[in-house]
Symmetry: C2
Subunit: 312 residues, 2 copies
């Protein structure tokens, strides 16, 4: 259901970007993101152990995936999310029957709250990027890329908490060390990228990006350690580039993607000389957007000029 | 590359439609439609035989797919299409290096022209729906559905020339005879559906539908014979339903689809009582749309009321 996802070269997108581009598409599944690769592992193990409940903090996609994996196994799932998370994500978590707790702060507040609930109720806390299952789940993407990795020069990976970057990066370094592993984060949520460059944890006070899925402020030290081992580079991109990349993925690949999934293409658009003529693989990690936001970003109506630039 | 495409249940779409809906997604590949399943067979066989050229008439997707399959094997591909075909499709055919001949008439004119070229030049004419490879290619979709078919009550298939309907339908009847095979065509291009109901070929003088991929006027007798054996029903849907179905697939599944790919959902929307509570499988057969058309259909801007209803 979540494995063996499409991997294909998109000539039109490559032509537009001045390089060859292949896509690993992680959105054609019941939760529209790659997160269920990890939650299937977590929930399966919990179920095997006779556990009956789990709690996680989530920007949205992990919660949806854990809710989906938990429902199949009769687990009670609690998801803690920011009240500002996209309604599309929150609605789907509720629809799965998971308990949804909203916090007034951001993702880091949700993390604290989830940890408190886990401690209070004695249930498993699923910590994205820290818990090995979440990284192993993402690593299965890498295992699917590896047989074809000899044709890629670089893999572009959205960087948030780090599960996808470390999971895929680890496999690439083990099985296809010639492939450059490049992590991409928004300037508006740069904590992990700054930490990677400084080789020490650097937290930020706030985030300001439409890429809700990668908007953390407090990098986890153990994840940074892993990222330092497997990433060849970490770059930051502007909000306008994320929007332009979302538009390009729609126009040239026919794909609706959430902002986090456009980070790889945004990185290419910001630094075309670096990537010219190379064969890039980008992971389209999620498609969960509120459509009103999406339309405003992608295609401002004439009476609403500049919406794409100012609205997030 | 074109096989083993995603097959997943979409809860949000099912909830909106009042039934369970699974999707077979045929758009996550280099040509964004299912047609390469057949052209890979055709081009592979031609190449094995030492042939160097092929010609086809196409509404767009077959031409793109044959161009793609031919380029990989060094075949000279000529595609004959209507000048009114979506620019998105024609541009991709040209980009692949195929010779593109445009006729001023519709798809049936393109068919005549392609046959003339084949005869004149002594090259293989690839006739969609008539040539067995095009049906066998589509039948591989059925082979991928069959292992999970026991969970489906019905399969909804876009009906044009009939390759997909007969190919998938044949496998369903052979391996999963309990699954209802329902073909869906627009009221604006009803020739094959009328022919199925009358059990004899009925041609029409014209077509009037945004579903360019299924807009034929002259059913092929041998294809009708096959369709009579494997289809349980053939229904017609309104243009407004096609647009509403495209919108629903975007809103609830995050999928950009071309009109032909929305026919199954349109059929459910037109006859909800028939499908209530059942588990339906619909094949999303293509995503090749001109985005300007798509946006006009999906989300009319306030200054452009009614565009969705009147524009095609």
């Amino acid at each position: 259901m979540f494995l063996d996802t499409p991997l294909f070269r998109c000539d039109a997108l490559g032509h537009a970007l001045g390089c060859a581009v292949s896509i690993k598409l992680e959105t054609a599944n019941p939760v529209r993101s790659f997160k269920a690769r990890g939650t299937e592992l977590v929930a399966g193990r919990l179920s095997d152990q006779g556990r009956t409940a789990a709690v996680c903090a989530s920007a949205g996609n992990l919660g949806w995936a854990l809710g989906w994996s938990g429902r199949r196994r009769g687990l009670d799932v609690t998801v803690v999310a920011s009240r500002r998370a996209p309604a599309a994500k929150l609605d789907r978590i509720r629809a799965l029957g998971a308990a949804l707790e909203l916090v007034d702060g951001d993702f880091e507040m949700a993390r604290e709250r989830a940890a408190g609930i886990a401690q209070r109720d004695g249930v498993r806390l699923v910590e994205d990027s820290l818990d090995i299952e979440t990284c192993e789940g993402a690593a299965t993407i890498g295992l699917e890329l590896a047989p074809r990795a000899s044709s890629f020069d670089a893999v572009l990976i959205a960087l948030g908490g780090g599960a996808m970057a470390t999971g895929v990066g680890y496999v690439m370094k083990a099985l296809a060390p010639g492939v450059e592993v490049i992590c991409v984060q928004p300037h508006g949520a740069p904590a992990m990228t700054r930490s990677w460059h400084e080789r020490r944890v650097i937290a930020t006070d706030s985030t300001d990006t439409i890429a809700d899925g990668v908007a953390g402020r407090h990098p986890i030290p153990a994840v940074l350690d892993d990222l330092l081992k497997v990433a060849d580079d970490a770059v930051l991109v502007q909000e306008a580039s994320i929007v332009a990349a979302m538009r390009m993925l729609l126009e040239h690949a026919g794909l609706v993607v959430e902002p986090s999934a456009a980070l790889g293409v945004a990185a290419v658009m910001e630094d075309p000389d670096r990537f010219a003529g190379r064969h890039l693989l980008t992971i389209i990690c999620g498609s969960n957007v509120d459509l009103d936001d999406y339309h405003r970003w992608i295609r401002p109506c004439p009476q609403d000029p500049g919406a794409a630039e100012t609205n997030h």
